[in-house]
């Protein structure tokens, strides 16, 4: 079986991601209501192995992974790939070099 964390942690994880997406009024979004509703429905008190619950937990875990990975991917995308091509100065700067400068300004040799 896949190693799954507890339902409560997954639930809180998803709600946290929703808050990140929606800002402070995330509690009024439909996904918030739906997720809470699903987690409440799938709560069982008995310790017996429940197939539907296992399915639901796996799905919720997968959804959490989708939200979290998309966010992390976007963060890295913005940081490294979102700005288009870099200029020569910046590229040189990445590896700790500077472009040569001409003492008299551009075209001084004429």
């Amino acid at each position: 079986m896949a190693a799954l964390t507890s339902p409560l942690r997954v639930c809180r994880g998803i709600l946290k991601e929703i808050r990140h997406l929606k800002g402070p009024d995330y509690k009024h979004s439909m996904v918030y209501a739906y997720v809470l509703d699903q987690f409440r429905k799938n709560e069982v008190t008995g310790a017996r192995h429940c197939r539907a619950q296992v399915e639901a937990l796996h799905a919720s875990h997968t959804y959490l992974c989708l939200l979290a990975s998309t966010r992390q991917h976007m963060t890295l995308h913005k940081l490294y790939h979102g700005k288009g091509e870099r200029g020569p100065e910046e590229v040189a700067g990445i590896v700790g070099l500077r472009l040569p400068t001409q003492p008299g300004g551009k075209g001084w040799e004429k």
Partner: protein
């Protein structure tokens, strides 16, 4: 398949060459279908956000629709965007709702998968999709083993053998692994077993499964994921095992390794969730839960 796509793109030369946003502005949004003549072009990965509220509603036949402000969402092929259940509708609506100033279509994996299932841009039937998916079995990631370096040999053995044992037991098949460049010779009965199994998938879940297989480059890992034997994180780790080994040895580069990993995770998670939400067992499960 490829030709079909090219011909369709050429068919609408004038509109398709313009970016989506430009084409869109000259048109009244209310009645005309969204992106009516748009073929699947990669021209517009982003566009300006043009709506505020996202809502879902249940239309004729019990299918769920998405509305952006008052306008119904449509697929790139011009069809009305409909999904079979509420969970899927909410997942899609959340993606549209989460977009800030620009719509970043490359982050909207659930929407993309629904569009693919609705429009079927490659115009394939289920049998063709199953053949395409099973083609990956012949070159399955977990079937190809290295002979050196010893560390990686050990790692592949320890990590991949348990999944292999699981799938062989679960489907009662023989797959085997090989370090030969030609890969293992997979018995015809094995392929037939999987083909029969995949015939039980509906078109939507098959779309999702094929997507996961093409992402993980492995039928074994994909079935492990949708059969709930593996979590997304585990499946992605096993798919990238050699890369992880190299990272351990040479160091991690955030803008390449982590970037790829998160993207792969997001895509695989979307595909697996799509399979689960659009497969039959989901509705059965919900009926059971209601009483």
């Amino acid at each position: 398949m490829m030709w079909g796509r090219l011909v369709r793109v050429r068919g609408g030369v004038a509109p398709t060459l313009l970016p989506l946003a430009v084409r869109h502005e000259g048109r009244s949004l209310g009645r005309t279908p969204f992106f009516q003549n748009a073929s699947y072009s990669t021209a517009a990965a982003e566009r300006k956000k043009f709506y505020k509220d996202v809502s879902i509603s249940q239309g004729d036949g019990g299918l769920f629709e998405i509305s952006l402000d008052r306008r119904k969402l449509r697929t790139p092929g011009g069809k009305l965007f409909t999904v079979p259940n509420e969970a899927l509708a909410i997942a899609v609506a959340t993606e549209w709702d989460a977009q800030k100033d620009t719509l970043k279509f490359y982050t909207m994996h659930m929407t993309t998968l629904c569009n693919t299932a609705l429009d079927n841009p490659t115009q394939r039937n289920q049998v063709q999709m199953i053949s395409a998916a099973l083609k990956f079995l012949e070159t399955d990631t977990v079937c190809y083993r290295v002979e050196e370096p010893p560390g990686l040999v050990e790692l592949q053995k320890n990590e991949w053998d348990p999944v292999m044992a699981w799938i062989e037991k679960r489907y009662n098949v023989v797959i085997g692994s090989s370090s030969d460049i030609m890969g293992p010779s997979i018995p015809e009965e094995t392929k037939e077993t999987f083909r029969q199994h995949l015939l039980s998938y509906n078109f939507w879940s098959l779309t999702g499964l094929e997507y996961v297989i093409t992402q993980l480059k492995s039928v074994v890992l994909s079935l492990g994921l949708v059969d709930r034997h593996l979590s997304v994180e585990q499946a992605v780790l096993l798919s990238r095992l050699e890369e992880e080994y190299q990272i351990q040895r040479w160091g991690n580069v955030e803008w390449a390794h982590d970037y790829d990993m998160y993207e792969l995770r997001a895509r695989s998670a979307a595909g697996a969730l799509f399979v689960q939400l659009s497969s039959e067992s989901c509705t059965v499960k919900r009926k059971l839960l209601q009483d």
